[in-house]
Symmetry: C2
């Protein structure tokens, strides 16, 4: 017998504490919701007027809360607490070790979500109650009081700007503060950065493969990994360079353009012309009603001759579906066209033209996309020429069948006439590499550097509090990233700086930068966001401008050149002295 | 200049309308939250007492709402509405075409989430407002009124029980009702079923690879695809046969066991013994305080001789970390042990033993897992024998480094002494196949069957309203799944039935079933859930019992035998007649 009841921890955190968010040292955005009571928000009808443009900030998914973490963070917190390490301070670096997709660059994304997480960080009573039931009974009660009162006001987060091109080993975030607190943030920060960055990088790669002038639409919601996986995919593919999504909620939440036409089932729902209950449409200018069915049927006869196809191969159900769709969306007629549907489409589009409307185009979802797009373009050109309707040649051709980066590159080679790709599964699941392996490592505690050694050099950590700079050459391209100890002064424009490989002694290079970009800004301090949070469109623009500074050979799909990440002479010595101190000396026997 | 404001559509849907959910014809669960006002729920402190056992239902993630869909569903809805198809009724099948992971079975999951989605289905005012801004201005205002008032009370959903083993082409859901409404449900239902089923299947495969007696823990939150991807992964890996998760929120929401110890950073935070601020622990029985540091140091000296290792190769910082962890969790001491940590672990575990506590074991997170686990087990055995502490030999060995199904199979071949696997990235991203390709196809409209033809036979749909049966043989194993037209009467036990391949004329078999299981139940009708919703543990148990009915050769990892899905003689003719009617006759010229 099932005995069940609803527990509802979601709502507990859905409405974060609405505290004033004045901020030091930076422009700060007004947040309308802070002036809105919870009741208003909960009323279901809260929809503040949107400002002009697309600068809006969405609230965070309610599942992002302090318990969205690994249990061991909390057991460690207790062990730290129990060991008297409450006043200890630590520095953690969040970084990845390898670029995804066999590429040589990564786009950093997820920062805004990390900051929202910090803004709302607080264990609720029900969280504490759950932990009390779950952790061993030997845990001292005072620990729960400690947790309940825990805040992130003493945490400082340095971060690279969201949307920047980033590279292995250069920390994306440097998180400083009370050891217990910064440790407790680990899993959630990783979750928020890992997939967002992976997705934005994937999207940016698709954008590069498709070129600047092709529209890219994200169609992956149904294949995404969970509902929020779908939302994150829509958001970060837009950041990475996509033009829109089919996901309506993503459109609503993030103010991303939404696109879509109809599915095959729409066509299937019409068997023949007799099912067309509305057949007329008003002329765009005269307003006079015309019979679109009669017009389309007449056009279909004429076109069958022109295009040398058999009229009876065109399905009547499909034509009925297209006519009804054209009547519903006379200004936005775009139709799913299977191998045989071109004749019907052209007939309906020409009828619309008779009534003063311009069709948008077709979507192809099966078959040989290069061949079909070329054939469709030829057909459009022939119609355009025969009937003297120049824009008909420019109708949009959207392709959307199981497309990935390689498909696009291969279509480019074959030659195609596609204007827009709708991309689902491979984009949102990041098929080629479904996870970015960001890690979060302690590099300093109570002012003392820490190094983690490993047989595998790639897993050795770079100790201490570090700053990062990007050095640019005279042609505007990024030359190298340089990590330094935070106590060192920044490299200067026009001054020679020796950049060393962090682990290979012989690899060194002198660089004279024409421009030096410090990569970190303080994004969180004193319990507040300390930088203006850019709108999604600004982050999206930064992706393209940041990629633009990267040499083409780092970005190409096949065998790209690795971009160099180096350390200063000082940091190099620091790492290697600490390494020697920490490595046990073996004895041969 | 960034001008931003918060918009907050999340909360709008977070608290679904709390309407009474009495249900016809089935046991129905009490829902505590329905007696709780919104204010209470929003207060942040709502934590109803849990009943005994683990039967609880969590509220749905607030992002699951009617706008979590593709835009074309809404444009189609308008076109249907505009074409006067408001009263049309349709039947859609939700099914997949191919089992994932090169396997021959799939676990169906996500049904409960689909039902919750239906329970809460309603467009809010802010949804309508958003659509009004987003869709073309030519859309008639009445359509928005229609949408605002739309309900799913006339929809009926037939479904296979969640947790069942299922096969390609057998619909998991049959959704019937007003064409516009059932079309609008497509994307969200697919999103909720696709990843849940993929994840549960993946977990079930790991369970089979590991065998019944190995503990499996899901550790993938940080690498999951978005925060909800992480929650779904935890939930459905538990359903598929895992024993627990590291994800605390999943534990809280779904009442799944949570597990975890400490990360490497805990070890890194201690440099040497001097950092141990608390050194004493009370004896479990006498209550007398003892110096664990002194005990452990003495044990380490003795063990170094016994195990023939050098004491100075063991890190003092690591021992300090282990001692502090043991003091915090004397009843639950489990330590992350890198290649060199075994000596320290044994020393601390023996000190705990002196004080009346039993350690739990170790976690290995790097290196050769087979070798290290064997070495650790030998060490434990030697200690157990030398000091006459039999349980020491049985200490748990957890392994957790980048494990996938193949790693487990390979470790099985090599021979290992691991008791528990902690599995992250590969489990939650379903690396081998990151999406299950469920589709949602119209099979009937207004009582008329619909077929979708395709060059690719796998993409041809099976028309009409169908029922599905599983036929079992005398040995209790499932023999074949049989699809019939809903108008046919069910196959009977002991009566010969001819089962045909749906598309290959020559493939037929007579079956005399010993047991016949009708696969569908009405889960949603009249605006209500119509079956008791099993608790997560019951679904989890069904996965194992359902898999148990499947012959071993269908389940094996390498070259499994396909399980047969067949159609009745009647359905076969029905499909093929309709096919001929719909296929245009070509002309050779």
């Amino acid at each position: 017998m099932t005995s069940s009841q609803s527990i509802s921890p979601y709502p507990t955190h859905l409405l974060p504490p609405l505290r004033p968010s004045a901020c030091r040292g930076g422009r700060v955005e007004a947040r309308v919701s802070e002036n809105v009571s919870r009741d208003m928000v909960m009323d279901g009808d809260f929809a503040p007027p949107l400002p002009e443009g697309r600068s809006t900030r969405a609230r965070q998914n309610g599942v992002v809360q302090p318990l969205l973490t690994d249990l061991y963070q909390i057991t460690m917190a207790y062990a730290y607490w129990k060991s008297g390490k409450i006043a200890d301070n630590a520095v953690f670096d969040l970084y990845f070790r390898k670029n995804p997709f066999q590429g040589e660059f990564t786009i950093f994304a997820g920062l805004e979500e990390c900051l929202k997480f910090l803004e709302n960080f607080q264990y609720s009573d029900s969280d504490i109650e759950y932990l009390r039931k779950t952790l061993p009974p030997t845990i001292e009660a005072e620990f729960y009081t400690f947790l309940r009162q825990l805040t992130v006001k003493d945490v400082t987060v340095y971060a690279i700007d969201e949307g920047s091109v980033v590279f292995p080993r250069v920390p994306l975030l440097r998180v400083e503060g009370p050891l217990i607190v910064v440790q407790l943030l680990e899993t959630t920060l990783l979750t928020l950065v890992n997939y967002a960055s992976l997705m934005a990088t994937n999207a940016a790669r698709y954008r590069m493969a498709a070129g600047r002038h092709i529209q890219l639409l994200e169609f992956g919601l149904r294949r995404a990994q969970g509902p929020d996986g779908g939302l994150s995919a829509s958001k970060y593919s837009y950041v990475g360079g996509f033009d829109g999504t089919s996901n309506v909620l993503a459109g609503k939440l993030f103010n991303i353009p939404v696109k879509g036409t109809h599915a095959h089932s729409y066509v299937t729902s019409f068997l023949d012309m007799s099912e067309l209950r509305t057949k007329t449409l008003a002329h765009r200018e005269t307003g006079q009603e015309h019979d679109v069915l009669a017009l389309s049927s007449a056009w279909r006869k004429r076109l069958a001759l022109l295009l040398e196809t058999l009229e009876n191969e065109a399905s009547d159900g499909e034509m009925a579906a297209m006519i009804s769709f054209a009547i519903a969306f006379p200004e936005g007629f775009m139709a799913l066209v299977d191998t045989s549907g071109l004749l019907n489409f052209c007939a309906v589009a020409l009828s619309l033209n008779d009534l003063g409307y311009r069709a948008i185009g077709i979507r192809i979802d099966s078959g040989d996309l290069a061949y079909l797009s070329n054939k469709a373009r030829e057909t459009f050109a022939k119609v355009a020429q025969t009937y003297n309707i120049p824009w008909f040649e420019k109708l949009s051709i959207v392709a959307s069948n199981d497309i990935n980066e390689e498909t696009i590159l291969s279509l480019n080679e074959q030659g195609h006439k596609i204007d827009c790709f709708g991309i689902g599964t491979h984009l949102v699941t990041c098929q080629r590499q479904p996870a970015l392996g960001c890690v979060y490592k302690m590099v300093e505690i109570n002012g003392q550097p820490r190094i983690k050694l490993s047989q595998d050099v790639a897993k050795v950590t770079m100790p201490g509090r570090k700053d990062a700079y990007r050095l640019f050459g005279a042609d505007g391209h990024a030359l190298i990233d340089l990590l330094q100890r935070s106590v060192e002064s920044a490299p200067k424009v026009g001054e020679k700086v020796l950049c060393r490989h962090p682990f290979q002694e012989s690899k060194r290079a002198y660089v004279i930068p024409t421009r030096v970009e410090p990569l970190y800004k303080v994004y969180w301090q004193g319990g507040q966001v300390c930088q203006p949070i850019p709108a999604l469109d600004e982050v999206r623009a930064r992706v393209q401008s940041s990629l633009h500074t990267l040499r083409q050979d780092h970005k190409r799909n096949l065998n790209p050149t690795p971009y160099k990440v180096s350390v200063s002479v000082d940091l190099y010595s620091f790492i290697h002295e600490l390494w020697l101190q920490n490595a046990p000396i073996g004895e041969l026997s």
